[in-house]
Structures are given as structure tokens and as C-alpha cells.
Symmetry: C2
Subunit: 339 residues, 2 copies
């Protein structure tokens, strides 16, 4: 923490100019690192800056430098999910760590409504940030259009169709197929899925992987679609599935939070996990080890995704070209006691 | 969502000036709402702005207006706790809703290290935000000093000693005393406490309330201090208490997250809740209803605290004076099955 002079008001360029006996224009040229200032004037101004405790206005300097040293982390989810989802939290922490290492300030923004969208678009146009990490973009997301049109350095976590910006992601289809195949291998006969967030690539892809794994045995009536990757969506989805198929003996929940809600519903219905119903999730977030029993799930390196996205944005800010095809991060299946 | 012109590069003041056949200075005067521009020039410039799709640079205009329409939400906690703690999440959502209603953009920042502190101080000095909502400030927090010295409109959730800015908070002493008294009334004889975050006013005050409730029966050896309001701190604290006092029959955990960790440890130790040990928490956050059994706890209106803090900042931005003594929000004890 640098020493902060104990004063009540910020010193201005005017105060520095008066102290140094030069014009405000000369002070500005020194502050902005321009040439054509005499050594004598420069020394007088530097001494005056120290004496009056002047801190250059970064917003003003950024107009010259075209830099803010800040990157937005935008999450397009309902507010409560931004708060509840440990997976988003891990992505946030990974991005924050990488940006902090580069001495960039990350500012998180949650987008939850049409009005939020307009305001965030205005914020991005305002030049307050040098780049954006965007999580949970929808197909045809309006924020995505704004980012593309401003040509802001940006990286997306996930890969909405039609996206032209850089992205990092995982193989949702292959991962969902792998965990479903492992569930099938435990001998389950009637496997349902709570599919979530089908307005996003991840949601669609996880359903695709489930469908692929079951092949001829796939039964669309055993799939219940819920809007969000949330605990309460898991409760609702499991209730609906059990009402239609009380004989269900396996479940793929599209995320660990969804699985946690499903476990609660199964418990209330008097069904034992894994004895009566084998349950697998997706994410390996904090939910996975706090449920009873702990979840078999797909581990996705959420912090690594956030970190990779932040590094891509930083590279673009330095003027490097983003990888056209995006960055794919490895996943693995983690087997615990829920299946 | 306003229509966004499909163009590759942002139009500049220069483009507008060329199109309108005037100087860039004249364009700037119109954009910044200054007088002394002929009607003829103004009309030509307004037509040119539409034609070239110019969006005024907010950062530039903010230098004139001294407004950013953005407010920082700063949390001084380890990153993982920012993500894990549903109480902080609720405060964040409450503040975000109030700021959104006023068409202000909230940007969340997590402060987790000395280096973060320096960077955030620079960010605040840079003029990127009009105000700050600050959560989890420590006693003598360096960010607090920066906010005070910049005279930024600010409101604190909680009330660190010596703070001169506006704050909103709850009566932590009285609330902790009330929930402990109710635990005593269930007939418990050896009541321990996992005290957390004693570097903050809330942590110290909750311990004080516990001490007050027990009066002569208070035994300092039954208090275990942990650094954070977190699940894992609850696990550690409970293990330490049980090692010293295996005959303990009651517990006040300084937050619901701490209580959830303690419940897990009690379960592993083969102790039944509430039969063997009665447990009470603090917050009534999402943890409280997802533990088994659900927690008896103190309900603090976290979203309301965030909302009140945001409204205070907005009032200060409008030029109103903050309430000198801060705003105290009511709490209540919620009795469920854990005690």
C-alpha cells in the first residue's frame, strides 16, 4: 500500500502548475509522458507533484493511452444463480487470479434482464474496460453482438453457435456421453436425464451426449427439461420425472447443483441412492462432495477455464490474434458413491 | 436493446466533423451539451452523428460530467469465500437490484491481498466509479482509508471501529445474545462457540453476545476461534472443540456456513443433532435450510442490507448527506430442528 497523503481534496493539475510556476499544458505534457518539455520544467513539475500530492487522473490519462487496466467479467444468468453456482464462482476466481497477476482489475457484472443488457452495452461502449470475459452467453446473445461490434478484446467461456470471438470450453458432448456410459455400465435399465439450459450450447451438448450414449435405448419421455443449472430446477425436474416414471433407476443431472436438488427429492420420496437410483452429475463443483452420498460426476476444470479466458483477453489487449478455433480444456469422470 | 449499427470500427469525433463540415472542437461542444454553437452547426452535427453511427465516448464525457453511472461493490474476503458465502451473495443481489433500478451499473470487485488493495485503490482514484458499497471491511482497512480520502460516496455493510462513512448493519451483539439464550432455554449445560472473523466488528460482536448470554457460566475454553465465516472453518473449529470437550451438548456457530461445517464434523463423530448436541447458526442464508437437520439461526435481511447500502450511495451521489449514525436493520431468531 503506497503512503497516501492525508488531505481532504484531490490536488489538481492547476495546483501542480501554480507550485511549479508553469502552465497547466506543460504539466499535462509531463504527466502524459510527452516530449518537448525542458529538463528544468520537468524537474520543477516532478517536485511539485510530490509536494502537492497530485495523483494523475487515470480516466484522463486513459483517454490518451486508450487503456483502463480493467477487464469486465460478465455473467448472463439470473442473479441468484450467479451467487449460488460454485462452477461460475470457480471460473470467476480463475479469471480474477490471472488478471490480478497481470495487474489488471477485474470487475464482475451480472446480466439478468433486457434492461441490464442495455446498461451493460452502454458501459462497454463507454470505454471503462479494455476487454471482457463472458460466461453463459446465450445463442444470439445481445451482449455478444455489442462485444463483436465494438471489437473489444474478449473471450467466451462456452461456445454459442455463430460466435466469431475467442472462446474456451470443454467437450460437453463427449463428457456427457462418457459419464452416461459409465452409469449404464452399473446395470441401470431405466435412465432418465434432467436436461438444463437448452438455450445454451452446453445444455444442448450435454443432452446430445446422453442421447448418443443410450443409442437405441434412448426414450425422450425419460428426459425432463428445466431452464437453469440450479438446485431448485433439480428439485422440480426430479419431481416431474418421478411422477411419470416411478420405476426409474438411473439419472444423469445436467449439473451438480441440479443433481443436489434431485437427491433431495429422491430422499423425500423414500428412494435410496445409489441402491434404488444411481445418480451422476456434471461439473465436480463444491456441491459434488457435500451431498450425501457424494456425487459421481464429470470434472471440468472451471478455474482453468476462467484462467484461459483471461489470458486470451490479455493477449488480445497486447495486440495478439486470438486462436480462431478456441481452446478446448480436458475433462474426466470422477466416480464417487452416488452411482 | 437499441439497434446497433453494423459497423467494424467505432466512429470518432473526427468522422462526425468531416461529415458535418465543422471542426472537431465544435462537435465536442455539441456532444458535451455546451452552449455557443450555432443552430445550423448543431443540426448538421446531429445529422452527422446519426449518419456515421457515432457513440460519444462516455469516458471522455465523464471527464466533463464527473459521472460514470457505475458503482463498485467491493468485498474484502478471500476469493473462495466471496464465491461460497450465500450471505455475501444476497447482499450483492440486493445492492445490484437497487442500483439497476436507478440505472446504475454495479461492478463487483474482490479484494484478497495487499496487491489487490493497491490495484483497487488505483482503480478508485481513476474515477471509474461514482461510489462504493463495501462489504467485510476490516478494522483499519486500507481500502477504507482510500475511500475516505477520496471522499467517494460510500456505504459500508457492517461498522468497523473508527469509520466515518455511512454504514448499514445489524445488532450483532443483541442477535447473538438472543439466539444463545434460546439455546440455553432448551436445557443445554455445556455450550461451546465457534467464533469467526475476530478481525471484524461482526465477529467480535457475535462473541460478545454469546458471552453476555452465558454470564457467570461463560467458559473461555469452550470458545474456538477460526479466521473465516466458512464451511471448512466450521469443520476445523468443531474438531478442535470436540477434542477438548467431547461432552459438549450445545453449539453457537458464528455463521450458518460455519454451522454447516460443524454439523458435518458432528455427524462424522457419531453425534446426533439435536439429540446429543443442539446447534444454532447465524445469517439464515441458503445453508440454513439445506443442512440436515435444518438450522435454528438468526435471520438477517442480507438483501435488505445491500439495498439500503446502495440507496445510501445513490443519495450521496445526488448530493445528500449520509445519516451520521448509520442504519440499523432488524433481525429475528428462526427456530428449526438443529436445536
Amino acid at each position: 500500500m503506497p503512503e497516501i497523503p492525508a488531505r481532504r481534496k484531490r490536488a489538481t493539475v492547476h495546483d501542480v502548475a501554480v507550485e511549479a510556476g508553469v502552465s497547466r499544458g506543460t504539466v499535462s505534457r509531463v504527466v502524459n509522458g510527452e516530449r518537448y518539455v525542458s529538463d528544468e520544467a520537468r524537474k520543477a513539475i516532478e517536485a511539485a507533484i510530490v509536494k502537492v500530492g497530485y495523483v494523475p487522473n487515470t480516466a484522463a490519462r486513459n483517454l490518451v493511452m486508450q487503456r483502463t487496466q480493467a477487464v469486465a467479467f460478465i455473467v448472463h444468468e439470473p442473479g441468484p444463480l450467479f451467487v449460488e453456482d460454485p462452477n461460475i464462482g470457480e471460473i470467476l476466481l480463475g479469471a480474477n487470479a490471472a488478471l490480478s497477476d497481470a495487474d489488471y482489475q477485474m470487475a464482475s457484472i451480472v446480466v439478468d434482464s433486457e434492461r441490464d443488457t442495455e446498461r451493460v452495452a452502454r458501459f462497454l461502449r463507454g470505454g471503462f474496460v479494455d476487454g471482457v470475459v463472458m460466461v453463459s452467453a446465450r445463442t444470439n446473445d445481445p451482449i455478444t453482438r455489442v462485444i463483436e461490434q465494438l471489437e473489444l478484446p474478449a473471450a467466451f467461456v462456452g461456445h454459442p453457435p455463430g460466435l466469431t470471438a475467442a472462446w474456451v470450453g470443454i467437450d460437453n458432448v463427449g463428457s456427457a456421453r462418457a459419464v452416461t456410459e459409465q452409469l449404464i455400465a452399473t446395470g441401470r435399465r431405466r435412465i432418465g436425464m434432467i436436461a438444463a439450459a437448452l438455450d445454451r450450447d452446453s445444455g444442448v451438448d450435454r443432452l446430445q451426449g446422453f442421447t448418443d450414449a443410450l443409442g437405441d435405448r434412448f426414450d425422450a419421455d425419460l428426459v425432463e427439461s428445466v431452464p437453469l443449472y440450479s438446485y431448485s430446477a433439480g428439485v422440480d425436474g426430479m419431481r416431474a420425472l418421478l411422477a411419470r416414471h416411478p420405476d426409474l433407476d438411473g439419472l444423469f443431472a445436467a449439473s451438480d447443483a441440479v443433481a443436489a436438488g434431485a437427491l433431495e427429492t429422491l430422499r423425500e420420496a423414500g428412494l435410496r441412492v445409489p441402491e434404488d437410483v444411481g445418480v451422476v452429475g456434471f461439473d465436480d463443483s463444491a456441491w459434488a462432495t457435500r451431498t450425501h452420498p457424494p456425487l459421481s460426476t464429470v470434472r471440468q476444470p472451471a478455474a482453468g477455464l476462467g484462467r484461459a479466458a483471461a489470458l486470451s483477453v490479455l493477449a488480445q489487449i497486447r495486440g495478439e490474434k486470438p486462436a480462431v478455433d478456441g481452446i478446448m480444456v480436458e475433462t474426466s469422470v470422477v466416480w464417487r458413491e452416488s452411482a
